[in-house]
Symmetry: C2
Subunit: 350 residues, 2 copies
């Protein structure tokens, strides 16, 4: 690698920088490798027009989850759900997972049973088979590594790179709620630290808590798109926030976009807690992440198919334009603001 | 689960007990899932008589590797190699891997580059594509999770469960050398701790060091078996030691075996260091593990095909018998000793 381009540290390089650095060296030696690093899943050819997709996530205690407020059953469910969501983001159907666990001495067998209770609940909910894994002791807390495999027809795979000017940008559900759920959990954790006798007070915030603790992969959207004969021109799932994901799609498709602020679906509970905590709910939607909704672009001609069919709600939030027109948010006062990726960064210690 | 059968702790359950406990609840909801938990890989059907196999390993600093004597480049290579070995153990060809990394602040970018140097070296050596992964910060040391995918013809997959009485038990190379390599590294680490000015003295033990630090998956054996038209009736790779693996094959095949002590291939360096350290080299072969040789059974009629063709050495070390005749080692003094699995245990703190 070119020494002059080498940053000093992982922190300055960042997660996406490290991924780019790794991907630069990737070569494809196998005809079955159709897509490697750089999308929600890798894509492997099988035969007769079928594709397998594969994705993997590594979850570490203290980085990705906090067991003081995340029950192990929910954690198991979520760990599976976020991987299935990546499979959905390729417009594919999840079929198998492997689960590897590193477990330190502080965990009882009951705790591990609880974790698998959640893992199996997610498998059963989405018709996915647990087919393998690895189990080991750990010196430090819980480590969970999950790999998910899915299948799709060759002509239905949706990459990040296919968005074209004039396509409509859609999202499958409200954004910012998982982030506000996390803010609520963090607030109650601080309260509990100050007073050991308190009980957490989650008030009337059931929806946003569930969005944070128990996200659901949108397999129903993949089914619905298939049913109405629509293949998205590009697709991702919203794990880092709408801004970050939209910028990935625009960069990989070589296009720009306009997202219309007032069209972004935001749940009533998200707005209410945001007001209480003095947070702008649109910022939560743009940068919060962990919503695991599907963000996708479709040809204009396909948009009316959504409206003529009964299915899950789908929200049109903007459109794709030429790259020269940049990536912007049209605000409620009709100003334009640049979209910026301020989502979760893996190496900045936040 | 039945409460009366519930052990108190993970430690008393052990790794294989935990795997059994998880596997009991596994159901297959997808027609593409042909084999789940319980072999070296899961097996998925694709089409036209083709199978995909998938395996995964989780490696944690302080448990699976010690960076005081394992250079990161070697670690990267080994982490890939052991997964490719699992693919070979299904008589399949490895094609893709995903690599997930958890990295704590003590690692420099140079360290991560070194690790990937080894990962890519293994990929290039075996024609395997790195197609995805996940990168994250970690609070505690290095975590590596690798998933490997391979392909095989439907009628060539070798499970652990197909060994039949009178089959010949074969191994692809010498055993116990990786274990003796580890003993050498541990000895030098103790010496270095006592005297900071010493340099490690590995003497004339290049082979066993390389067996420990840089194991090679036996893709050449898979190729050779294909070339001579032999499909093993059962196969595993030797990661936990000959005894442990042989017991897995016998249990899953519902058979017994006789292993002939003097037929077990043991390298001259293994014998020499074993003598120096007062260790029985046969015990190292039986219980040491990490050799990553292929252990397999073949029909007697196939054995002559090995001898009539030029290929990698293959060692016949015993035979399969009825389950009622148990699993035994025929010792050099013609006694019979019960085979016992004393390989590496994941949860006993060793």
């Amino acid at each position: 690698m070119n020494q002059s381009q080498t940053p000093d540290s992982l922190e300055s390089l960042g997660e996406f920088g490290l991924i780019d650095r790794i991907a630069t060296r990737a070569r494809s030696a196998n005809a079955t490798t159709l897509k490697g690093i750089g999308d929600d899943c890798a894509v492997l050819s099988v035969s007769q027009g079928k594709r397998k997709v594969i994705t993997t996530d590594l979850l570490l205690e203290g980085i990705h989850f906090d067991l003081t407020y995340c029950p192990l059953t929910h954690l198991g469910y979520k760990a599976v759900a976020v991987n299935l969501s990546d499979v959905c983001a390729m417009n594919a159907r999840p079929q198998q997972i492997t689960v590897s666990l590193g477990v330190s001495a502080k965990f009882t067998l009951k705790a591990i049973d609880d974790l698998y209770e959640g893992i199996y609940a997610a498998c059963n909910a989405y018709g996915v088979d647990l087919v393998g894994g690895d189990t080991t002791s750990s010196l430090t807390g819980l480590t969970i590594s999950i790999t998910a495999i899915g299948e799709a027809d060759e002509n239905k795979i949706a990459y990040r790179s296919g968005a074209r000017p004039n396509d409509i940008v859609c999202v499958s559900g409200d954004l910012g709620s998982a982030y506000m759920g996390l803010q609520l959990l963090e607030r109650e954790k601080r309260v509990l630290r100050q007073s050991k006798t308190s009980q957490p007070d989650f008030g009337d915030y059931k929806y946003i808590l569930q969005r944070q603790l128990r996200p659901e992969p949108r397999t129903d959207i993949v089914e619905f798109l298939d049913q109405i004969g629509v293949v998205p021109t590009s697709m991702m799932d919203v794990s880092d926030g709408l801004s970050s994901e939209m910028l990935h799609i625009c960069k990989q498709s070589g296009v720009g976009c306009r997202i219309v602020e007032e069209k972004i679906p935001i749940h009533e509970e998200t707005r209410r807690l945001a007001a209480e905590l003095n947070i702008n709910p649109v910022v939560a939607a743009l940068n919060g992440g962990e919503d695991y909704e599907l963000l996708f672009s479709i040809a204009q001609a396909d948009y009316e198919k959504f409206q003529s069919q009964v299915g899950p709600p789908i929200y049109a939030i903007g459109y794709i334009c030429e790259a020269s027109k940049s990536t912007r948010l049209i605000t409620t006062c009709s100003d334009e603001a640049q979209l910026r990726a301020q989502g979760w960064k893996a190496f900045d210690g936040k």
